[in-house]
Amino acid sequence: MRPQLDAAPSGIVFPAGVLGMSVRNTPQKTLESWKQIAGYLDRSERTVRRWEASEGLPVHRREHEKQDTVFAYRHEIEAWSRLRTKCPSEISIDEGESLPAVKSVSNAYLVEHDAITRTMHCYIAGARAGDGDLMRAAFHPSATISGYCQGIEYSGSVEHVFKWVTENGPAPNINPRFARIEIIESIAVVHLEVQHWSGKLAGANARASDVFTLLKWNGEWKITHKLFHWHDQ
């Protein structure tokens, strides 16, 4: 499938059903360099690098001794291009004035909403791939985790999550649903319901209810806390 970016380089609102898509795609479908990512989006390398820096294009990194390499998941790139909305700074004055006030307010809300779902999809991609480092970018450096799993309380650094996800390994069938996203200016809460957890630690067909608290930090939404309830089977 071609990404839907051809129409306008400045971006277009795509009210998309993200979840259906992430279920259909597997994380193995990767683009392995800036060149491939640029080719996939039919743009220059310089443009896609800028999109990563300024518009949250989901690009991941593998750390190596000499130089990091980048890669991207096709399904994340597609989700990003669907969700991509016009940034307020890109609206020209003429266009801005021609929009009714109500519309620009609701669009501002959607920009934040989409940015939050992009952050959450970074978490989901890591969970699905069984790669804790993949989801690191979704979290604030001081983020913490709390909750019970099989009667034992886990509270502490988010590093526990990264470790658990990596040890658990791939969970290709997880089905995440956004039960609720509530935004209060600089903070937000996301209730995520995840069915069909699997893996070495999760077992088979498990279910988790997660509550994430997010903070808008340096212009990006970052998870500051993950609170989970693991449903006993």
């Binding site: 709390s146 209060i184 600089s186 809460v189 209810s209 608290t213 903070l215 500051t224 609170l227 989970f228």
Partner: protein, 128 residues
């Protein structure tokens, strides 16, 4: 969860939140400390500065002093088994640090411990 179970949990959560409200109103962090989990976190912007960690909160409450006219509203309480989210809107904040008639929106997440519901995080937005 049956209706009476839900009400029991709801009451437990509101009781914990009341400790936070009492501490805020009287400007005494000692009143709210028992409501917080030992590993609780605290996040939000105080002006331009990012405030992190419950020591910041407790220190702020003590330095702010009494805020007798705060109007707390519990906007929502969501219970998901052993965890809960409370949205609290507090108008009429006053005190040495809060100024006068300020407003704060809070998102509290709570964890049900053997000893009862405890606050595991407070995230706040201070309305300028």
């Amino acid at each position: 969860m049956t209706k009476s179970e839900y009400l029991t949990e709801y009451d437990g959560i509101v009781k914990t939140m009341q400790m936070y409200i009492d501490g805020s109103k009287q400007g005494k962090s000692e009143l709210m400390r028992p409501a917080f989990h030992p590993d609780a976190s605290f996040f939000g912007y105080a002006g331009e500065q990012l405030a992190i960690g419950t020591p910041f909160l407790f220190d702020w409450i003590d330095k702010n002093g009494p805020a007798s006219k705060i109007e707390p509203r519990v906007v929502s309480v969501d219970i998901l088994g052993s965890i809960a989210v409370v949205r609290l809107e507090v108008a009429g904040w006053s005190g040495k640090l809060a100024g006068s008639d300020a407003r704060m929106s809070d998102l509290f997440t709570l964890l049900k411990m053997p000893s009862g519901w405890t606050i595991i995080q407070k995230a706040f937005h201070w309305h300028a």
